[in-house]
């Protein structure tokens, strides 16, 4: 049996039934990594020895009769912007290379409690700034469906690792689409929870009011299990909310009777590839057949989302990234004449181009004389975008859109044109601005065999509805069963 091909849920059943040991599962995945990682390059670090030790510990526990939770002994990968106690956390940046935080992100403590086994940390766009993972300071991750194409980003490492069978699931982070877009481009499931659903403590901040940690998995069910494990109020994150966590497994019913779903017309015009559009429309037909009522709706402020996002996200980033100054930790330049010079050189040498571009943009946006025209106005438009959704959700249970306007693009294709790259997130950004949850699931392939993603957006804290729609669709289609031929 090729264990690496299985979903977390399938692995769990085998482990629970004592048909396989955790060690066998971990070994199978490590072998898979050995086989494909050289080509995919999804990981920045591995914890092979620790993982095998953990696996043996679990096997002992299980043979000792300990109850096996749904995540117990299941291997996982995490994005490199999640702090892990005493493990390098670089955010794929030279400025944080060699940084070992003395604490773990709350989600990692929760996973540890749930029993997952950490295999390694995955590549990403530097500080999560990018849509192709090409902005990593260390390596280029390739899309397992076609090694000449990008896996999307910024959680491209996590998405590629799941798609290539290196891990059954992974954690990513999503500020403007960084979970959903790579999930779509890699043909896997990715969910961005409601802002405040999952603690951000220990997630290295890009844009604090937009960032959320979320799962990337092969199936909707795995996604639900992972979300269940990481959700909830955290005393260490004031912006995590004390809203009851639903049972995300119970809600997985393959039936959509009585559900009303909106199809926003603004998401089907500009720059969208014909094949993507077609597959998404076809998917809505399937959803309709499952009992949902689908109607066209309007989210009139959608066209301002990208501009609004790049003002707010960069403004916050310029402040969040100010701490990387060479004083306390991280990279410090070798040559320096005085304090200001040390700041300048350390940051100049430590940050990559895209990060510098965004810091400059954000600094400008907040500067005297421009503050109200840019940052102030962006905040007001953000409210309008949120109002659009509030209004739509009065009549509709969920909204369906394409996840990304295109399938995976070639490596290097957009690196020279930041604006083009920014438009990769045109359909995912609004959910971050509005703070609502969104999931991307595979809904077909283009003629070149590259996956296409369908996005389902839900009401705040209503992850269970989008999971249910995603599950119903998944159970009635075969897309999620396809694996790249790597």
């Amino acid at each position: 049996m090729e264990l690496y091909k299985l979903s977390a849920y399938e692995l769990h059943n085998l482990i629970k039934g004592k048909e396989v040991s955790v060690e066998e599962v971990v070994t199978s995945l490590l072998q898979r990594i050995k086989k494909v990682e050289e080509r995919v390059k999804a990981f920045l670090s591995f914890y092979q020895k620790e993982a095998l030790n953990e696996a043996r510990k679990w096997d002992k526990k299980i043979s000792g009769g300990e109850e096996v939770g749904p995540l117990a002994g299941i291997p996982i990968a995490i994005k490199d912007n999640l702090c892990l106690d005493s493990a390098e956390t670089s955010c794929a940046s030279n400025i944080l290379k060699g940084f070992y935080p003395p604490y773990s992100a709350t989600v990692l403590n929760k996973l540890n409690k749930a029993g997952t086994i950490l295999l390694g940390k995955t590549n990403m766009d530097e500080f999560a700034m990018g849509s192709s993972t090409e902005n990593s300071a260390f390596q280029i991750t390739r899309n397992p469906w076609n090694l000449e194409t990008a896996p999307g980003g910024s959680s491209g490492g996590s998405a590629a690792a799941v798609a290539s069978g290196e891990v059954p699931f992974a954690l990513g982070s999503d500020t403007g689409g960084s979970i959903r877009q790579p999930a779509a481009l890699c043909g896997v499931v990715g969910l961005k929870p409601t802002y405040g659903r999952v603690s951000r403590y220990g997630l290295v901040a890009f844009a604090s009011s937009l960032d959320q940690i979320g799962p990337i998995a092969k199936t909707v069910r795995d996604c639900a299990y992972l979300l269940q494990a990481i959700s909830g109020k955290d005393e260490l994150d004031s912006t995590s909310l004390d809203y009851p966590v639903s049972d995300y497994i119970q809600c997985l019913i393959p039936d959509l009777q009585g559900m009303k779903i909106g199809l926003p017309k603004e998401y089907f015009i500009t720059g969208i590839e014909e094949e993507v559009k077609k597959k998404v429309i076809t998917a809505t037909k399937v959803i309709q057949e499952l009992g949902a009522q689908i109607e066209e709706i309007s989210l009139p402020h959608t066209k301002y989302a990208v501009a609004t996002y790049y003002l707010i996200a960069t403004a916050e980033a310029s402040s969040n990234l100010a701490r990387y100054d060479g004083v306390g930790y991280g990279y410090r330049t070798q040559e320096r004449t005085n304090l200001i010079d040390m700041y300048k050189r350390s940051r100049q040498e430590g940050f990559g181009d895209e990060v510098k571009r965004r810091i400059m943009l954000g600094t400008y946006v907040l500067s005297k004389g421009y503050h109200d025209d840019y940052y102030g106005k962006a905040q007001r438009v953000r409210t309008l975008i949120k109002n659009d959704f509030d209004k739509a959700f009065k009549d509709f249970d969920a909204i369906i859109t394409p996840t990304s306007p295109t399938v995976a693009f070639n490596l290097g294709e957009k690196t020279e044109d930041p604006l083009k790259m920014y438009l990769s997130d045109v359909f995912t950004i609004s959910a971050n601005l509005a703070g609502i949850p969104g999931i991307s699931i595979p809904c077909g392939f283009n003629k070149n065999g590259l996956p296409i993603g369908l996005q389902i957006l839900g009401k705040p804290f209503d992850e269970k509805t989008i999971l249910r729609i995603a599950y119903a669709y998944e159970q009635n289609t075969e897309w999620h069963k396809r694996r790249p031929g790597i």
Binding site: N81, P101, G202, A205, D237, S238, A322, D325, G328
Partner: protein, 484 residues
């Protein structure tokens, strides 16, 4: 020319909470560098601030005591600037939506009542401390600088006055009264030497008839006296320039305590653009009416009211009342003494005399004094009953102050009780008269001095424990009763 002086004061006080504003680290002063830090106050990647509710309560408490209006919804903001003592390179502060606005402080200056508006009160985190030039271990480089992050994140409350203070003396009095109130509220110890109170001033001069001149900001004053002096120097400098017809440059100036003058630090053009924006890591702070009411109920009697009450209720002279209400602890001490010894003026005299003398001499805080108010009252009872003399009472009190022992215990163990038992004293007097016929004769012959000698002999025999009035009375009686 005469100018209208407008001074505004920005006071920062460290709050006396257990922990820092956004993490659990202790705020204790004087600990070894970087021993009171954690990932949050060190601004490591990925960590998040969590507001200290006690600090919020202290700020509400102060704001209400200063008659401010509390904003039911206030917000934290990031003030962005680069400096090594600021690990995140932004300070979490409040900007457009402070915790409170529009209060006032009323105080007496040069026998007149003055009311100064408080424009705003807000919370923010303190920065760390740079230590320059020290080298450690085998680091041989010259001109090294070190950062101590112990202070980073300590809760600061900023209290901003309107620019309507019209003289350095008024500024001095405003600060004195403000400090007294803050200490009454026990929200800060307001110790300028330890940096728990800091004050910047802005000052402008306008020719009479005009409304406002160009202001300069004044920093680096380390005591209320220096603030008064610095402001005076700045008034002199500005009026000198204005007299000459020159313009005042809007700038930040530093008080140079050695040269006793102000000097330019940076001009308006060089002023920082702090790029404030709302802190996305913290939710807006909601302070509803109920919470305000709850805090308000805890506000103690303020110094001015208490002073008035002391004058009226206890019939104390205004000077006494002023001294006793200078600090809440002293006023409390006074009133607690009254519970066991209800003689207002006597208690007042004792506290203003012996008590404060020892407090000053031993340099202890009033709330750390060992002798309790009840014990002090008990001692004053002995004194009043004549069990001990005034001189002895002072000696006993010194011992009580040092050890916290009861007066009775000290008197008994030290055998210090005055001999008031008339028969035993009479016996001693008889003995002394018998042993000193010369003295007796001298006194009889009209030499009053001889009596003093005889008293001295009695004191010697009783080891100072005899009641002097009694001794005097007995001596005179006995001598006049002696056979001729």
């Amino acid at each position: 020319m005469n100018y209208l002086v407008n001074i505004g004061l920005e006071v920062h006080v460290e709050l006396l909470t257990q922990s820092k504003l956004f993490c659990g680290c202790s705020i204790k002063f004087g600990m070894p560098p970087n021993t009171q830090t954690c990932p949050v106050c060190l601004g490591l990647p990925g960590v998040l601030p969590v507001i200290n509710e006690k600090a919020v309560e202290y700020a509400i408490y102060t704001a209400l005591a200063l008659h401010c209006k509390i904003n039911q919804l206030c917000r934290f903001a990031r003030k962005n600037y680069y400096y090594p003592d600021l690990p995140k390179n932004y300070q979490i502060s409040q900007y457009e939506e402070p915790l409170a606005r529009n209060g006032y402080l009323e105080f007496e200056v040069e026998n007149k009542l003055k009311k100064i508006e408080i424009e705003r009160i807000h919370l923010e985190e303190d920065a760390g401390k740079l230590i320059h030039g020290e080298t450690k271990g085998n680091i041989q480089e010259k001109e090294l600088s070190f950062v101590d992050y112990n202070r980073t994140g300590i809760p600061l409350m900023e209290i901003v006055s309107s620019p309507t203070i019209s003289s350095p003396q008024e500024a001095y009095q405003y600060l004195t009264d403000l400090k007294r109130i803050l200490r009454y509220l026990r929200v800060s110890d307001c110790n300028m030497e330890e940096g728990s109170l800091r004050c910047d001033a802005n000052i402008s001069l306008a020719p009479e008839g005009e409304r406002m001149g160009t202001k300069t900001e004044l920093k680096n004053m380390n005591s209320f006296k220096e603030i008064r002096e610095g402001l005076s120097a700045e008034i002199k400098r500005q009026s000198y320039l204005l007299d000459k017809g020159e313009k005042i440059i809007q700038e930040t100036r530093l008080w140079d305590a050695e040269k006793r003058r102000t000097r330019s630090m940076r001009s308006k053009e060089e002023a920082h653009d702090y790029r404030y924006f709302p802190e996305p890591d913290l939710l807006p702070l909601e302070i509803d009416k109920r919470r305000q009411q709850k805090v308000k109920a805890k506000i103690p009697e303020m110094p001015q009211e208490r002073c008035q009450r002391f004058i009226i209720k206890y019939g104390l002279p205004p000077y006494d009342a002023g001294v006793l209400t200078e600090s809440r602890n002293l006023a409390d001490y006074f009133e607690e003494c009254l519970e066991s010894f209800p003689y207002y003026k006597q208690v007042s005299n004792w506290i203003m005399g012996e008590f404060l003398r020892l407090v000053k001499k031993e340099n202890v805080a009033i709330d750390k004094v060992k002798v309790t108010p009840a014990q002090t009252g008990e001692l004053l009872n002995y004194l009043k009953k004549g069990t001990i003399s005034g001189k002895l009472a002072k000696l006993i009190f010194q011992e009580m102050f040092k050890t916290g022992k009861e007066a009775e215990e000290i008197i008994e163990t030290g055998g210090l009780k005055q001999i008031t038992d008339e028969t035993s004293l009479e016996k001693v007097v008889g003995e002394v008269l018998k042993e000193n016929p010369q003295g007796v004769n001298d006194f009889k012959a009209g030499k009053e001095k001889a009596l003093g000698y005889l008293v001295g002999q009695i004191m010697k025999k009783t080891k100072g424990k005899a009641n002097p009035q009694l001794v005097n009375r007995f001596l005179r009686e006995k001598i006049s009763n002696l056979p001729q």
